[in-house]
Symmetry: C2
Subunit: 333 residues, 2 copies
DNA sequence: CTGTTAGCGCCTTCAA
DNA sequence: TTGAAGGCGCTAACAG
């Protein structure tokens, strides 16, 4: 079924069919209705492939993510897909894995599909080994990084103030009387750098000594890190983690070490994921607004695709999700 | 940059360029090398859009899922994407949500993109409100259901023996001395029906009375269900859940009711997801092999795409992931 | 082994 | 307002 078939049956030319199909150009009311009737009765589905070839509009976008099994990434990808679908775009998802090795391949695939835009989920993509191929290959389509901004003219970004969010979280711990607070990072990204900076600022503001650790981004990683921390820093009374999953691991280690949470050690994660409600005790977490990140990214992309003017950067601020691993807030919060 | 540009620069015709591009037809070694050189130097990326229009091979597939944020679905989608990518296909994902309302729209979008195949993740798609539009619209491309089989000639499926897996799990509980075992289902799907059947078979085989409950597919749902169960069935000593997430909720309710797990009540989930290691105590779970499901589905699709003969159905069997919410296995396992 | 030539299904001037 | 005609970039006979 092609527009030729429709045109013949409606007794018009394909140009007219095309016009009613995408509401472009002037079409007489009568002919429009006649054509539309045929369109409906035939259950006609236009070929985006042909449309794409002729107009360069493929109505598709690509989403590059490290691993969609990660709740963090899947919730952003979900919002992107839903929002783009609402605007008539289909979403191609790519799971890159932990290294940039397959990045070029995926970008070439997306380009060969002539996607109209590309999303990058996560600040890893700001690292040079990723950023370089991106700048090199993606000069002609809008690019939006979720939680970051690439240095290229066609790039847009949504930035979450994780530095401030973490600072506020640590300030909160301090306000609750915690003094020996450690921070555990788990990935070499801008995002983690910002969180760390927030932690350092809060500690510095109160003249407190910092204690930091690095670990693998996994339950076991967080477990090890926390175990090491409490072993080497006996008086520790709080730990701020850069990820919920590592924080959950931390919870396990603390429990194993005979420490009570939050009485002896308070714990805070980051991402405010489902994990927070699943672990015991329920994990308090810095909420970096994944849902809003995803939606904002998609909306920014849509604006770019429609060449609507809009800010290059969308800024979001974190919230704090208080649960059971931190002290109840002081009076008046 | 098109094959015309390449052809001109290499001093050959576009047909030759096309041939070396997809290794079809005979091409002299010398010319092949010459063309290839130009291809490389120009960083040429063929347009799958044009290829798709000319050959109907778009090198893309669609994945319909209820909600990719669900770990269950995302791990299958992940495996599908990775496996398809390995075969040169891009994956378009669609999050349908809990009702079939938007199904037709998504199918039309996929069809207009002329995807070469479609995956359905989850046995919900076997329910008639879903199955009907699928049969109606998807007669011309291979369709594979992950954990189910649709009744149409071009459909393939991977089936996990969840009935048997659940039966084995319950048998295991019985072998450990449990007698008053309840089962909690959480979605109106074939999958849950099978699990329930397995439970019933095991109970019947030992002349035990069944106790079943239904709940929302969420932490709170499982929590409520378990709370109700222990309230109304005081002697309960084990609960088999159809999902990890509801089992985790159950854990919370049992703890709140002052019951110890597994001493007083043993608990088993299903899916063997990351949740199992995050909750406390760690959840034992029926492992329905999500990874293998995803991979098998993709491999089945690839076979269909290449018109390679292969079984219409791939059958997988469950395993059991023993953790802390069930008794240690009896000697000799 | 290589080139010529139709399409594939649709968009988009340009005329009428 | 409507139609005719030339691409878009590539594949696939069909000739040579």
């Amino acid at each position: 079924m092609t527009i030729y078939d429709i045109a013949r049956e409606a007794g018009v030319s394909i140009a007219t069919v095309s016009r009613v199909l995408n509401g472009s150009g002037k079409v007489g009311e009568r002919t429009r209705r006649r054509v539309q009737a045929v369109l409906d009765s035939q259950q006609y589905i236009p070929s985006r492939v042909a449309q794409g070839l002729a107009s360069r509009q493929t109505s598709s976008v690509g989403v590059l993510t490290v691993d969609i099994r990660d709740v963090h990434h899947s919730s952003i990808a979900y919002m992107i897909e839903q929002t783009m679908a609402g605007a008539g775009y289909s979403t191609i998802v790519c799971n890159l894995g932990g290294t940039p090795a397959r990045l070029r391949g995926y970008l070439r695939a997306l380009l060969s599909h002539r996607v109209n835009g590309v999303f990058f989920v996560g600040s890893v993509f700001l690292n040079e080994p990723y950023a370089q191929p991106i700048r090199e290959l993606l000069a002609d389509v809008p690019v939006v990084v979720v939680n970051g901004l690439l240095d290229m003219p066609n790039a847009y970004g949504v930035l979450v103030n994780e530095c401030e969010g973490t600072r506020a979280s640590v300030e909160r711990l301090i306000a609750a009387g915690r003094r020996r607070i450690a921070m555990v990072c788990s990935s070499p990204t801008r995002s983690d750098e910002n969180k760390l900076r927030g932690y350092e600022q809060a500690m510095a503001a109160h003249g407190l000594e910092t204690v930091t650790a690095q670990c693998a981004r996994s339950l076991a990683g967080g477990e090890e890190a926390a175990a090491g921390l409490v072993r080497e820093h006996p008086g520790l009374d709080a730990i701020q983690f850069a990820e919920d999953i590592t924080a959950v691991g931390g919870l396990r280690a603390l429990s194993a070490a005979g420490l009570r949470v939050p009485q002896d050690v308070a714990v805070v994660g980051c991402n405010n994921s489902t994990y927070c409600d699943i672990c015991t005790p329920r994990l308090s977490s810095v909420d970096n607004r994944l849902v809003e990140q995803g939606r904002a990214a998609a909306e920014r992309m849509i604006a770019a695709l429609q060449k609507r003017p809009a800010a290059r950067v969308v800024r979001l601020s974190c919230a704090f999700a208080a649960r059971e691993t931190t002290d109840a807030p002081a009076h008046g919060e």
